[in-house]
């Protein structure tokens, strides 16, 4: 159960950082949480983090960098990486949408501010929800559902995130100008690979 909660939290954190600019509240949450900061070592040691006000940090450093790695220079959408023509599939033909629909998930585009359902932040959040659903199933002692949900996670990770997210994240690592996004990219790659091993072998995250 602890594994599961950890995975759920990490998927949530990564998805939140990669889906939109941080707001002051989220930035403060990160700054206040030593555990999170341990996952992001360069950020933790970044002098500016403790000197500058949150609003300045966001407006002058972090948010411009987010725009840099998710809108201006890099494309955080699966179809861009997996299709030969590098077109983002924004319509109903996106297979990721089908997967969400199959489990009654539907993207609120207004909230997400993405053009397509296969944005890295959305895919990561989907994994987070699957973990949460598995937690509920285990709390309800529904082993069958829990097993199925774990299988779905493994499938989604393999069919989607692992097919392209590492490439995107490597690009983020080298393109980013702040330790937040460089560290997040590093952490995310490591985590996805490790999570795949975990889901495949059934071992602990330790």
């Amino acid at each position: 159960m602890q594994n599961l909660q950890a995975r759920s939290n990490i998927y949530a954190l990564l998805s939140r950082i990669l889906i939109q600019e941080l707001d002051t509240e989220m930035l403060q949450t990160i700054k206040d949480d030593e555990t999170i900061l341990d996952f992001l070592p360069n950020l933790k040691n970044w002098e500016a983090l403790n000197i500058l006000e949150n609003s300045v940090l966001l407006e002058e450093h972090l948010n411009p960098d987010f725009i840099n790695i998710s809108i201006l220079h890099l494309i955080p959408y699966e179809t861009f990486y997996v299709r030969d023509d590098q077109m983002i599939e924004t319509g109903g033909a996106n297979p990721v949408t089908d997967t969400y629909s199959a489990y009654n998930f539907m993207v609120d585009f207004a909230e997400a501010r993405v053009v397509s359902t296969d944005h890295i932040g959305v895919e990561l959040e989907f994994m987070h929800h699957l973990c949460e659903a598995q937690i509920k199933a285990e709390e309800d002692n529904d082993a069958e559902a829990a097993y199925e949900l774990k299988t779905v996670q493994k499938d989604f990770l393999n069919k989607h995130l692992l097919q392209w997210a590492p490439m995107y994240l490597l690009n983020v690592k080298y393109e980013s100008r702040t330790p937040l996004y460089a560290d997040t990219a590093d952490m995310a790659i490591e985590f996805l690979l490790s999570d795949n091993e975990y889901l495949s072998s059934g071992t602990s995250l330790e």
Partner: protein, 1137 residues
């Protein structure tokens, strides 16, 4: 590096804030997701389809395309009680009908929103065998016509005390109009003499139905039917009549190897654009070649494999060049030609063979009369049409002609063509282009084959007038209606006995020309000198006929036309000048059986008033079953808009002959409900059921219909289309049955003792006991024996394709043109003006004279009906300039957009008609020396708004009380009472007493005319406006950016050019171009219509060969007179010399 990393993520469990609070939460609430999962809607359907299956048409839910723009169901879900912000779901009932915006009759479906009882959209009908669910821009425009803010909301009449054309109108009732008109018609017919039967005239534009209105005039005993055909397709039909005694070609585009178009028709616009275009696309996908012959690079020509730009009117020379090479190079399909061309008749006619020698067509009469001698003879006959000759005459480069020939031969017997407007409608003698055009096709055996060219009557269904068994008096299929006993010289003047249809475009000239009237009266004919009633039907001759000012003169003359009314839903130039305008409906507002030959099959569509059908299918019943369409349209908020079928049923029974003394009443009286007019369901159940056996069998054995009162009608009501028979090829080879006692052909039985056979030609004749007068020795040709087999053959007198038209040569005085021919020398041209175009290059003697090609359609225009279609008008602005070749433009120093004067000059009389001012567009897409400017431009109006008091604005009668909602029981139960009657007028809820006049499409003009000369100029363009009628639909009426000028009204300058043989108005013009002068504006015209009258006289007197003392008949009796059958008495003529 990453794979080696073993960072522990277990610590993730120790976040101070749980992941649930960290995550952005980009997935929607359950209610939205559930609203989608619980609905039938999905973004990822298994398949895509425009149309639901027929079973769902009565009740079909579909997401609203407009509301979808808020974000689609991905973001908003589907609207439901739990999810009120979801995407709107439309609750439709889908009713099939047929388009009426050209002649093709493509299928339509009206998607009626039950919640508001409005048509939200028109789509195609997937069950329609010709259009296959597709439509062109004009089809979808049906909706904008339906909710046209300026459409007439009730019957109107000229205000008492005002003159015609003054523009003063009052509202009236249907009953008042029908009483006044019915009395005038009844009184006229009751006079009972010959003239009375010629004094009412019905003048139809696009008929778009197969025989209903003809039947009305048949039962009235009047020779009253006047078609627009001779400004349209008379020249195209003449060639088919001569070859096959049929009306028109019927190509099998979809299977052709060579699609040979002689114009932009078929693939750009016109007959039968959209259906033809899609069949042609099918063929090209399979590897077919497309050739387009047209001096103008039309859209079709632009995408063709070969564009042939021939000088207008010289096309016949190209066909004869192909003929020459086919014969010289031994490429004739001898088996077909021997079996199906009338070579025996020709070789038997010694007199004609000698005539050909005398005329220099051949050097000597063949010694033998066998088939090979025939081939040898015509090989010599056509040997003059060499490459060199053809290049010189047509201005087409040699390499293109050679390429054309190669394609022609490559295609074998799969050559599809269609002879219709263009060359045949533009040029004097244009009919000869089709006459010559069929020849190489027939020589290659490509008649009736898969992918070949065939004839109309095998591929069409005409039953609209054959519902007689539902009436008291008509008899089954109208068998008890007496034939019309008179011949109307105003429709068929003695100068044009071979005209394919009526000479309708000469009506104002014939009514004005007292000299002509008196001449023929003296010679024994009973020529009408005025009309008691003139009834145009959805027709606008003032604008679209040549010599528009002459029309205006006659329309305004109450002595020439005593009472006039137009059955028309919209304002038009003609309506402005009549006494009554009675609004009948558009494509989704009327009943018509309508079929066209668009593929080798017999299909029909069923046009319907969709609002009425939706109501009736949902359980509503009208108060007056004979005015159900009128009641339904009032309920739909369209106003007091009716339909023609019910109007004429009612007129004949209750107004023209209410006491039955004329014998008309019983013809339209219901057999089920004697005393009342027949109903729509009764009439069409009989019309379809009595005449289409396969449909009858299908409908009456279908569990949905077999227990219905009107199973066949209901089947057609629900499907909107039917295919009676498919894959009809080489139908002339259908065997006839002979059991030793009787021969059965075309459903008729002929006893053996009445039969005889011509041993030379194989033609089998039967003695005709009823209509023997039509045939030599009373013997009607009923079949033909070829190679020992008895077959139906073609509809000609000799049952074969008439290469040689014997009747044309002998009794009808045109021997020199009785075979496909084109003058081979300048000398022959002079001797044969009848088949030389009046715009031939030999007539272009003056500096800067050109041949102006006027005969092409603009694909977004629908003649008069499109004048106020919002979206069609927006896309059609400034699309009718004068195309001029860059070389010619450079010589005359014309630049793109320059205003130029186009002076029209007649090459017969030498007289000048006047000029119109138009815009020059230099282009490489036109043959040098020729110009192009479609004659479908230049609509006008004299006033922008007309005050017509509502008449019931105090709100005495409301059309509907319950909200318009088909799910509301009160709405479904109520219906207006006493519709059409005095005191029962409906308050038009969104009409404030001022009617706009074509506010979306037509600018305002000023006219001056003095009986001889006329001037016309536009004074005001369109302006944005606020529409009160159908306000929601027309909410963008404040966004009009165009001024509405759609070209010049060149038809008013054009003199009439009646072809001496086909009767076609030959549209092309010889013109002289000059720069515009100071003060000229594009759209200005000046016309000397006194000169135009002399031009009409010159064409008539110098070119025709009128009936004379030797004439026995008005017209060849074996050629069908369209619409109404006439008796022997009517056909016979006795001219005093």
């Amino acid at each position: 590096m990453y794979l080696e990393s073993r960072r522990s993520f277990m610590k993730g469990a120790a976040f101070t804030v749980a992941g649930v609070a960290i995550a952005k939460g980009v997935f929607t609430a359950d209610a939205i997701a559930e609203s989608v999962s619980e609905s039938k809607f999905t973004n990822t359907p298994d398949s895509l389809s425009f149309y639901p299956p027929l079973e769902q048409w009565d009740d079909f839910k579909e997401l609203d395309g407009d509301d979808w723009k808020r974000g689609g169901i991905d973001r908003k879900g589907v609207r439901s009680e739990e999810n009120p912000d979801g995407i709107e779901v439309n609750d439709y009932t889908i009713v099939p009908t047929a388009c009426s915006n050209c002649e093709a009759s493509c299928g339509l479906t009206a998607w009626i929103d039950k919640k508001t009882f409005t048509v939200k959209k028109y789509m195609g009908n997937p069950l329609h065998p010709g259009s296959r669910g597709r439509n062109c821009a004009k089809g979808y425009a049906t909706q904008s016509q339906m909710y046209d803010p300026d459409r007439l909301a009730f019957p109107i009449k000229r205000a008492p005390g005002s003159a015609r054309g003054e523009g003063k109108w009052i509202r009236t009732t249907w009953d008042e109009a029908m009483t006044t008109i019915g009395k005038k018609m009844g009184d006229t017919l009751r006079e009972g003499d010959e003239l009375s039967k010629k004094s009412v005239m019905f003048h139809v534009g696009r008929p778009n139905e197969n025989g209903f209105t003809g039947k009305v005039w048949h039962t009235l005993g009047s020779d009253a039917f006047n078609s627009h055909t001779n400004i349209c397709s008379a020249g195209g039909r003449t060639s088919t009549i001569q070859w096959a005694n049929d009306d028109r070609s019927s190509p099998d585009w979809a299977n052709a190897k060579l699609v040979f178009l002689n114009s932009s028709h078929a693939a750009d616009a016109g007959h039968y654009f959209q259906q033809s275009a899609s069949f042609i696309a099918d063929a090209r996908k399979k590897g077919a070649k497309l050739v387009v012959m047209d001096p103008r690079m039309s859209n079709s020509a632009g995408m063709a494999d070969l564009w042939i730009a021939a000088w207008p009117g010289t096309e016949a020379a190209i066909y004869l060049y192909l003929t020459n090479r086919i014969l010289q190079e031994g490429r004739v399909d001898k088996n077909f030609v021997r079996r199906w061309m009338n070579w025996e008749v020709m070789m038997k006619n010694e007199k004609y063979l000698n005539f050909m020698v005398e005329k220099g067509y051949i050097s000597k009469v063949p010694q033998k009369r066998d088939f090979e001698s025939f081939i040898a003879m015509i090989t010599e006959l056509y040997s003059s049409y060499t490459l060199e000759y053809t290049v010189k005459e047509t201005h087409v480069p040699a390499h293109k002609l050679e390429q054309l020939y190669d394609m022609f031969i490559w295609a074998g017997d799969s050559i599809s063509s269609y002879f219709w407007r263009a060359a045949a409608a533009g040029n004097r003698g244009g009919w000869m282009s089709g006459r010559a055009g069929y020849l190489p096709i027939a020589l290659r055996g490509s008649i009736g084959t898969v992918g070949g060219t065939f004839f109309h009557h095998w591929h069409v269904i005409s039953v609209a007038g054959k519902g007689g068994s539902s009436t008291v008096g008509q008899g089954k299929r109208g068998s008890d209606i007496p034939k019309v006993d008179v011949w109307n010289e105003l429709a068929w003047p003695p100068e044009w006995p071979l005209s394919t249809y009526e000479m309708s475009f000469l009506l104002p000239h014939l009514l004005t020309d007292t000299q002509w009237q008196e001449k023929w009266i003296k010679r024994g004919l009973n020529v009408p000198q005025k009309l008691a009633v003139w009834i145009p039907r959805m027709y606008n001759p003032v604008w679209i006929n040549p010599d528009g000012f002459r029309w205006l003169e006659v329309l305004k003359d109450e002595k020439k036309m005593e009472l006039t009314f137009n059955l028309s839903p919209t304002w038009s130039e003609t309506n402005w000048h009549v006494d009554y305008v009675l609004p009948v409906g558009l494509a989704g507002e009327r009943h018509d059986q309508h079929s066209e030959a668009t593929r080798p099959a017999r299909w029909t569509s069923f046009r319907q008033p969709v609002m009425r059908v939706a109501l009736e299918k949902a359980g509503w019943r009208p108060n007056n079953p004979n005015r159900a369409t009128l009641e339904a349209h009032i309920k739909a908020g369209l106003g007091e808009v009716w339909e023609e079928n019910e109007f004429w049923f009612d007129m004949c029974v209750n107004y023209i002959d209410s006491d039955g003394s004329l014998g008309v009443k019983k013809m339209w009286e219901s057999k089920r409900h004697p005393g009342k007019p027949v109903t729509i369901a009764e009439w069409y159940d009989a019309a379809f059921g009595d005449n289409l056996p396969n449909l009858y069998k299908t409908a009456t054995s279908d569990s949905r219909y077999k227990n219905s009162e009107y199973p066949v009608y209901e089947y057609m009501r629900d499907h909107g289309a039917w295919m009676e028979e498919n894959n009809i090829y080489s139908a002339q080879e259908r065997g006839v049955k002979f059991d030793g006692r009787n021969l059965v052909s075309h459903g008729h039985k002929y006893p053996k003792h009445d039969l005889s056979m011509d041993s030379d030609t194989g033609v089998i004749y039967a003695k005709d006991h009823h209509n023997g007068w039509k045939y030599k020795d009373d013997k009607k040709p009923v079949a033909i024996e070829v190679d020992g087999k008895m077959m139906e053959g073609f509809a000609t007198l000799d049952k074969k394709l008439d290469f040689f038209s014997e009747w044309f040569a002998q009794e009808w005085k045109w021997p020199e043109y009785a075979i496909p021919f084109y003058p081979r020398t300048d000398e022959e041209k002079k001797r044969m003006p009848h088949i030389v175009s009046h715009v031939n290059h030999s007539y272009m003697k003056e500096e800067n004279s050109y041949a102006l090609n006027t005969v092409f359609r603009l694909p977004y225009n629908i003649h008069t009906r499109s004048g106020n279609s919002k979206h069609l008008m927006e896309i059609s602005q400034n699309h009718d300039p004068v195309w001029i070749s860059t070389k010619d433009a450079q010589r005359q120093n014309f630049k793109r957009g320059d205003a130029i004067r186009v002076r029209i000059v007649d090459s017969v009389s030498g007289l000048e008609s006047g000029y119109f001012v138009a815009m020059a567009i230099p282009t490489e897409g036109i043959l040098p020396g020729t110009l192009a400017c479609s004659h479908h431009g230049g609509r006008w109006k004299l006033k922008n708004a007309i005050s017509i008091p509502n008449g019931v604005s105090d709100g005495k009668v409301n059309g509907t009380i319950a909200p318009r909602d088909m799910n509301d029981k009160d709405f479904m139960n109520e219906s207006p009472r006493n519709v059409g009657q005095e005191g029962a007028q409906i308050k038009i809820e969104d009409y404030d007493g001022i009617s706009g006049n074509n506010s979306f499409g037509i600018p305002t003009a000023e006219i001056q005319m003095d009986g001889k000369e006329g001037k016309f100029t536009y004074i005001e363009g369109l302006k944005p406006f606020h529409s009160k009628r159908f306000a929601e639909y027309n909410k963008d009426s404040d966004n009009i950016w165009w001024d509405g000028l759609s070209g010049s009204w060149q038809n008013a300058v054009a003199a009439t050019h009646p072809d001496p043989i086909s009767g076609m108005h030959c549209w092309h013009q010889k013109v002289i171009l000059e720069p515009a002068q100071k003060g000229d504006k594009i759209g200005d015209i000046q016309v000397n219509y006194d000169n135009n009258f002399k031009v009409y006289q010159a064409w008539r007197d110098e070119l025709t060969r009128p009936l004379d003392g030797d004439s026995e008949f008005r017209r060849p009796p074996h050629i069908k007179r369209p619409w109404v059958p006439l008796s022997e008495k009517a056909y016979r003529v006795d001219i005093r010399d």
